[in-house]
Symmetry: C2
Subunit: 491 residues, 2 copies
Amino acid sequence: MAKDFSTREENYAQWYNDLVIKADLAENSSVRGCMVIKPYGFAIWEKMQAVLDKMFKDTGHSNAYFPLFIPKSFFSREASHVEGFAKEVAIVTHYRLKNDPNGSGVIVDEDAKLEEELIVRPTSETIIWDTYKNWIQSYRDLPVLINQWANVVRWEMRTRLFLRTTEFLWQEGHTAHSTRDEAFAETKTILDLYADFAENWMAMPVVKGIKTASERFAGALDTYAIEALMQDGKALQSGTSHFLGQNFAKAFDVKFLNKENQLEYVWATSWGVSTRLMGALIMAHSDDQGLVLPPKLAPIEVIIVPVFKSDEQLSAITEKVLPVKKELEEKGISVKFDNRETHKPGWKFAEYEFKGVPLRLTIGPRDLENGTVEIARRDTLEKKVIDISSIVTEIPFLLEEIQCSLFEKSLAFRKKHTYNVDTWEEFLDVIENKGGFAYAHWDGTSDTEEKIKEKTKATVRIIPFNNPKEEGRCILSGKPSSERVLFARAY
Amino acid sequence: MAKDFSTREENYAQWYNDLVIKADLAENSSVRGCMVIKPYGFAIWEKMQAVLDKMFKDTGHSNAYFPLFIPKSFFSREASHVEGFAKEVAIVTHYRLKNDPNGSGVIVDEDAKLEEELIVRPTSETIIWDTYKNWIQSYRDLPVLINQWANVVRWEMRTRLFLRTTEFLWQEGHTAHSTRDEAFAETKTILDLYADFAENWMAMPVVKGIKTASERFAGALDTYAIEALMQDGKALQSGTSHFLGQNFAKAFDVKFLNKENQLEYVWATSWGVSTRLMGALIMAHSDDQGLVLPPKLAPIEVIIVPVFKSDEQLSAITEKVLPVKKELEEKGISVKFDNRETHKPGWKFAEYEFKGVPLRLTIGPRDLENGTVEIARRDTLEKKVIDISSIVTEIPFLLEEIQCSLFEKSLAFRKKHTYNVDTWEEFLDVIENKGGFAYAHWDGTSDTEEKIKEKTKATVRIIPFNNPKEEGRCILSGKPSSERVLFARAY
């Protein structure tokens, strides 16, 4: 299984790609930049979706579905949206094929040309606000709290499985409010929700904060984000929540009668996480032995591998195992008993270790005699022998311990790779040699931000919330600054 | 609410469209032929998805995700597939917009033309079999049992909300097998699953059977389908399961080494249901008062409406209602307590009646004194007063009764509108005057089928399974026939 598998140190990018392919998570398709998400990878995404979907509903949101296509002219309506966004997109120009008169294939029927081209949605603000115009007349129609699970397309020149693909899956929330404060509060509620998900489900610590103007979503007044640190010292933006002000309401003329019977533009937010989170999850915990998954998002939490030489032995093991499996499942734990005779135990050990199953139980004839079972943790690779009778109490406890331990380990890694830097030399050392998060003073101008990016490929990832005020001097320009911001190279 | 709402008799098509719009299920978007599925409509679809998804998983299938785009040349690979299918599609030809040098908008960047056009998937057999080629080498890799929940696009000239839209949502199963028998069994398993879902969840009786050659899926050897009868006497195909033989394996060169170490082509099935089922569900049970939903698929099964004139009364009612609501929810019943003060009880009654909520509880000050509550059934519009203390036992029973009763009512309707016809005149009378299912003899030729369609717009919907053998003469050609087939006009 782990043959031809690069280590992180040898080649981190190759390690990641090998991991995604060999753990059966995803692969490239015949369509440039578009991936196939394989069943095992998709099962993880489904777990993430289920948790997030419940979180959205628990905070009052409903799902809906808006068209895949957006008329080209819609993108010009919101000036900064079109500037910052809508260029690299898939464009539908025709709606019919016909048989090639010169051959056996099919060709585009030039008679079936669209009057106005349609854009495959790269994000749905425009088509959704065009729809909201008809839904919102009065303050009684507000708030509108809607989420959509959808595929989107952004034409990418350089793609990496999950991290950057031409088509990806995501959820996009689009809410409409009667006041600025309410929209603002929604933006924050969602950012907190994303951080909660990242930390308590993905076991991945994140920094919450606000983006600088140059990293803001095209059309937003403010973009909030969570940033996580990957094992190669690069940051990964893991979720964004945008305060859109009245920009899209103005662009699509969405007004409402307030309680004082006056017409006002509606206030808006949008927010999203995508299959990119799969990339974050994979990189956050995995090691040179393969994938490591937090139990809460693992499609299989416990794998049971029988070791047997005869049918009688397998029957005896099965008889012991099935009631335990059932008891664990009744506790909501997903358990697989791999009793296939086509594969040897050693192959199975390697397979499930590589695929990041948090716990493995092994049971053979000697265990049957002794009433024991071997239990192996994927995260630490530790093994111990326990009584069969204690499995049902032990396993939930161990899964919880693994979940916490992964978070603590990631947090410790981040602490170790987080630096306060005060000089350009220190900054360079972190960005180019050590890798990690550099908290540094910055003069607040896009100009300096751009220069730093040109010189080092590092960007301001975030201005953290509740950032302590501290007098200092910009690491590049030397101009005064009142707080440190978080710099890193990023995915 | 029900103002400006056509009755079924006045104008069935208008009634349907009004119902979809006014019950907040869906609406047309600014993109021709594409709909917006609104939160209430989407909540029903999510319930359907959840049930079907569990059924697929319980029968061994996993979900995965394949690209939205398919290279144009893929469609030419399977000859009958391209003939029967791939013409009316959305075609992506370019991948970049640029600012219009003459104005403020954006235009297609002609420099960003794709070498090969991409088709927005109308169905995914081709891209999936192109992928399976790399997944399948040996009999050990089989079966592959995969389902995908996705959006697909078929360029439609005349669209109707849910029933026929350019973009729609669906699931498509694509399975690969080592033997013909196994693929054949899969095709039937899925058809049974669809019928089970239609009858036991949607409360909609269906006829199972096999399609004639002219109604077969392009590329299939056989297409099985379930057909339901709508209230206007037309049939609605509600799910199809295709036995694809080795056609796609041959087109995409997917071979496997069998146990005898010989190379063979893989056997295939594909199957799907779509948001069209929403149209079926809406039409199956609804009436001139609005939507009627089977409890098992209703987003809200029980609505509780308080009648009050003062805050004290509302508090007293709330105090009584909340524990009951909680107890019902613990039984897995979805309950909404609409305590809004912005809307009057009469408005709420009309609203939830129109939206098809199966049960309504009304509780006012007099009920509080008497310890009673009024309970109203949406399907029969019957009301009765019961003791508050018996709600928790009564409601599950009533919901089950409504579910059964809707099925029985639909079944009785279908029986009443199903005819054995032996002459052309009888046939015409059913198709053109009475409406419904006509079981008639047919000579088995596509030629006759086509003539009947031209004359009457009726088609062979299905050759039913377990069809009794019976000697007769074709209603049109008079040639001998050994069984009756099911004719109807169809959506």
